[in-house]
Every structure is written in C-alpha cells, then in structure tokens.
C-alpha cells in the first residue's frame, strides 16, 4: 500500500500503552464531568395539587425541588390519605391503611431506607387451614390442593386469554374447594377486593408486570406515618379544602371548593382516591368521553379494618397471616417477627363481597369474627382471650370512600387513559392511575407521581 506510513511494532505498542488506559478510563472520566441529568423543564407556572395522599405529597416535593410553585388542597385535616397508622393502641406500629412494602426495586424503598427504616428479618410465614389441618408454607408446598393452587396462580404470569370473573377462572383451572379461601385471600383481599368481583385479566396483568420483587417487607420498628409521611411535613398544604369542581376552559385551571372559594393555577394534578375522582369531582368542560368511560370502568370498594387485641396469642409464633375458610378469609398477625413483645394482635381487612355482610352485622361483627376463629383454633380460645377491638371503615371516610382500586371484568387497559394529560393542563396521579400493574400499592402511587411530574415539566 504505497504512500502509507509504516508503523513499527515498538511504536504501535507504545501508542497502545498510552491510548489503551485512556480509552478504558473514558466512561468514568466522562461521567465525572457533569451533573446528573433531569427532565427538561419547559413549563413555568404554578401547579395546584388536589389531594395530600402520598402521590400528591411526593409530586409536590419533586416539583418544588425543580423550582415550580405548588399548592396542595386537602379535603381532610391530615396528610397521607390511605396511609394511616393506628395511634397509641397497640404496642407496635399497626396500620389502618397501607400494610407492607412490596419488593425493593422502587423509590419507596429508597426513601424509607433514607429515613432509617428497618425491616423484619426473622422468618415469618402464612398459615392456612386446608382440609382439616393447619399448613405452614413448607407443608403447603407438599400438599396436592395447595400445589394446584400455586399452579393456578403461576399460570397467571403468562395468561393472555379471555377476561372473566377470577373465581370462574380458578374453577376452570380445577381449584380445590379446600383452597378457595386462600385464593380469595391472596388474589382478592390482598389486591383490594374479592375474587368473586375481580377480573382475571386485571389480576394477571398485575402479576405479569411485577418488576419490584416478591418480598413483602414489614417495618421492624415505627409505622408508615413516621417513616414515610415525615418526609413531607413541610409542604404547603391547605387543609379542610375539598375541591369539587375543576374548570379548564380558559388558559388557566380554576378549582372550586365546597364553600365556593376558587383557586387558579396553570396546571392541576388530580391525586385523589379513585372513588372521589369518579363520584365527587366535576370537570368543566367534561373530560373526553373515552377517558370518562375508562374512569368509570375502574372500581374501588370500601374496606372495613377490624383490629383485635387478645390476652395472648393462640396462633403459631412465626405466623404472619392466618387464612381460614368462611366469610372472613384472612387475619393479619400485626406484631409478628418481633415487632410486638406480646404479639397478641390480629387485623382483619374485610372488603369485596364480604364488606356488606360485615356492615349488616353491625356490632355483631366482632363476635362473628371470634366465632370463626374459634371454629378453627378450637376451645373457644379466640372468644375467651379477646380483650378489645377498634375498627376503621374506609368506605365511610368522606374524602376517600374506599380502600384501593381494582380491575373488574372488561376494564383491562382502562388505567392507560389516566396516564395521559388532558390538554396539557390536567394530570392524574395516585395508585389507580398506575397502568403497569402496580395499582393498589404505595410504591405504585409514587411511581405515578414521577410520571405525572415528568409530564408537567415537559409538556407546554
């Protein structure tokens, strides 16, 4: 190749010796040169946030750090929404609302660790009554009926068939009658309703989208209010201001509260529980027809939380949940894993189709719960060791009206509409607006806040 300059071996090796390390160091050199990247901020103006639940609080915090003027309007007199800890009744952190941290791969876990949260590390497990015996998780792995149940649940990770009531799907798959209550506890109660109301596609989508881990983490000490809401105490929240009307027909968005007072902002983030969005909030002009249909398709039902104190535990020391047949399928052992010295508290979340039965019982509910426990633990042990109870009905909370959203039959994909803005002025956040399967969770609500804030900053 005439005209080209020859390089001898020594020259080449010398150049390689100088250039190689420089090339290998290039990523770290480049990374250390600049500040970390954030979304482009194209929006200048003020943002009104309706709702001081975790989505609204977290969104406000992010917006303020980006230099945006923010005001939060909260209907009640407290922040946190469906994060509410039981106050000075139990000897450990007990919760009326959010219970567990699901997995670690999300910002909620990072924020909690930042706030020095520690999680229970001692082994705790579920116990279920199956065909006349108590089974722990090891025994459940060997039992044909619970093996079949696990197979059915595992099949949902690849299910893309027709939508149907979850119980019908389980029956079609051959679920044993002796494990129906475990099915309802795991796929119904823990996901916000009951399996005779929920659509199987909504449940399957949640399982398929799982990307944060399967662990269910419980605080060793402290509670949700102390460990999470404490991060947002300094935000500008206007309490006792229930917003009922959102007008967005001009260049600004005008909010009106129940007393007729108005508040004007450039953009508004709606971060209220889904029941409130569906039933209490009006928009002028009306939201797009398709979006209204999507909002109506998503369901949210009330839940009655009943906390019971006993003289001593009558359940296994390592029990985390107790699942039994009957009307009330699941009891949470709230002090398990060393959280409570006495470990003598149970919590029952009554939701879905069982809720109305509980309401109909009125004051007879707790004796009914105790009798059901007696029938599986024997010797009237629950009734005889019962001390006292407290309860909270999320359905009766005027500005919450429910526990968590779920996806009924035919509503698959409905949450997608809530991930988009309306005319770049109205945005939605909150657990019900998570379209990737993490609805009904605290971390899911926080992820929707990130999405909404990114949209607010970038859309003009």
């Amino acid at each position: 190749m005439s005209g080209t300059k020859k390089m001898d071996r020594q020259t080449f090796l010398r150049l390689l010796g100088m250039g190689g390390p420089a090339l290998l160091m290039m990523p770290s050199l480049l990374s250390s040169c600049k500040k970390y990247p954030l979304p482009d901020r194209r929006f200048e103006g003020s943002v009104g946030i309706i709702g001081a639940g975790i989505a609204g609080l977290y969104a406000a915090d992010m917006l303020i750090r980006q230099g945006i003027e923010v005001k939060i309007y909260e209907a009640s007199s407290r922040i946190g929404g469906r994060i509410r800890s039981v106050d000075s009744w139990a000897d450990h952190g007990m919760e009326w609302g959010a219970q567990e941290v699901l997995g670690r791969n999300h910002v909620l876990f990072d924020l909690l660790k930042n706030n020095a949260a520690q999680f229970v590390t001692s082994p705790i497990q579920d116990y279920a009554w199956v065909n006349g015996y108590w089974l722990n998780e090891d025994l459940m792995r060997d039992n044909p009926a619970t093996q079949k149940l696990d197979e059915i649940i595992a099949s949902l990770s690849s299910y893309d068939g027709a939508d149907m009531i979850a119980n019908l799907y389980a029956e079609n798959q051959g679920i044993y009658a002796t494990t129906q209550h475990i099915w309802n506890a795991r796929m119904g109660i823990q996901k916000g309703s009951s399996t005779d109301l929920m659509g199987i596609r909504g449940i399957a989508d949640g399982i398929q989208a799982s990307s944060n881990g399967s662990e269910k983490l419980v605080f060793q000490d402290g509670n949700w209010e102390g460990l999470l809401l404490s991060s947002f105490q300094d935000l500008d929240v206007q309490f006792n201001t229930p917003i009922t009307d959102v007008q967005y027909n001009g260049t600004k968005v005008t909010l009106s509260d129940v007393n007729g007072a108005t508040y004007v902002h450039d953009k508004v983030l709606v971060a209220v529980p889904h029941s409130i969005l569906k039933n209490q909030l009006t928009f002028q002009p009306l939201l797009p027809t398709e979006l209204r249909a999507q909002i109506n398709a998503i369901a949210m039902r009330p839940a009655l939380m009943v906390a019971m104190k006993f003289t001593a535990p009558f359940w296994p020391a390592d029990a985390k949940r107790i699942q039994i047949p009957g009307v009330w399928n699941e009891f949470e052992v709230t002090g398990s894993g060393g959280r409570s010295a006495q470990n003598n508290y149970l919590m029952s979340r009554i939701t879905g189709s069982a809720y109305q039965a509980a309401i109909d019982l009125g004051t007879g509910l707790v004796p009914e719960l105790l009798m059901q426990l007696d029938s599986y633990f024997g010797n009237q042990i629950a009734t005889s060791s019962f001390v006292e109870s407290q309860n909270l009905d999320w359905g009766l909370e005027p500005w919450i009206q429910g526990a968590q959203s779920y996806t009924p039959v035919g509503a698959e994909g409905s949450r997608l509409g809530l991930t988009q803005s309306v005319e770049h002025r109205i945005y939605f956040a909150g657990e019900a607006t998570h379209a990737e399967g993490h609805h009904g969770t605290v971390h899911g609500a926080m992820e929707t806040a990130i999405r909404a804030v990114q949209q607010i900053l970038q859309e003009v």
Binding site: M26, L38, N105, H443, Q454
Partner: protein
Amino acid sequence: MRWKIGLLLMLLLNANGYSQVSLDFRYQFFQNTQVNRSIEAFNLGHSYTGKGMQYLHHGYAASVGKIIKLSGPRSVFLQLQVPYQRLDQRFATPDVTIRTTHEQLGLTGELLFHPKALKGKMSTGPLGTRLFYSIGAGYAFARSGTWKNGEGVYLSSPKGSTLFTVGMGQRRAMIRSRIVVSPFIKIYASPWREIGDYQKAILGTALNAPSGSHIVWQTNFGIEFTWLKKEKTRKGFWRQLFHKRVKSATEI
C-alpha cells in the same frame, strides 16, 4: 430466528481453512432516548437525595469471531462475531446503593469489503484491503438488572432483537507478522428492541407515557486482533479463482 442463529453458529464453528480468528475490545457508546428519559425520571424521583445517576451511555464490549475469506483479490470477507457488551451505572447514598446493568450477547454476520477492490482496482492481502468497510446484521439477546445494596432486586429475562451494523476499520499494524491490529468503528442499530425492561430495571416500573425513540444505537470504537494462520496447500474453488499469496496484511 433460531435457525438463523444456528446457521451463523455453524458457519462460525466450521469455517476452517480460509478463516482467521479475531478478538476485539471496544468502548461502546449506548444511546436510546427512552432509556435517557427513564434515568431522568429516576433522578427526578430521587431528587430528595441531591444525587443522581448518569445516563446509561458508556460501556465496554469484547468480541470473538472469525474472518472468512470469500474473495481475496476482491477483498470480500465474511466476519462472524459473538460480541458481549455491558453497561453499568451506579447511584449511591449513605443508605442505598443501586447498580443498574445492561448486558447484551449477540451474533453478527458482516461483509468486509472495499468498493474499489470490488472492481478489482486494489491490491489485497490475507485480510483484504488495508481500509475496509463493513455492513451486516445479527441478533442479540439483552437483559437488564438492578442490584440494591448488593442484593439483586430485578433481572429481566433475556429478550432478543435484530440488529443492523455498519462500520469501517483499518489494518493498521502487525505484531510478529502473525497478528494484525485493526482499529475500527461499528455502529449497531436495533430498531425493535424491547425498552420496557430497561425502564423496569432503572425505575422499577415501565414508563406509561414515554417520549423518544425505540431505536437503540450502539457505537463501538475498538481494536481488533486477528491471528493469521499459515496458508494451507489444499487448493479450493475460491482459492483457485481469486487468491494470490502476499507477504503480510500490511505490506501489500
């Protein structure tokens, strides 16, 4: 797609008498706007820490392969390669350390050529012309993972996608008349790469309203080492048609 991979693997393993083994090391610049948006969102969500993660841009890669001679004088070679690429990003606060990785294992087939040599106007050596161009395609499996405080919290299942590549390089120097050293640049484009897994690794969830393109661009700057085998005396069809002996790859 599996049969294509199988065919390429068969070619890679069976290419013998007219092939040379190559090994290369690369710096890689990775670019996908949706992944960038995910990292921006991650930083937004962690703004309470005052820290953030850099874009998932810079990574390393290495590749083994074979260069198979199709036509010596016309300088047309087929290069089959198995490139492994890795990108790594970290985020650390006193309480939380997050490491996000992206790995890719591919199989590519590229034609190495020079337009002038195709017309028979250039001298060629055992590895063709000194300056060469490449064009090809392949298939790559990629997966993303996240480790938090040393514990794996997310690892996606490997997902495959087609990639296309163009590039150029130069047979620049020789070591002991046996190893040809060739700096090169190659650009990979994957138009249909699954982006959701990156977002789940970085953010913990897929973005619902992503902006940006799905296309993943990977620009590779590297140095290739090719071992020249001694010529075999066996005469094949291609050799009879095109080949002529030369002293070395760089002394044409």
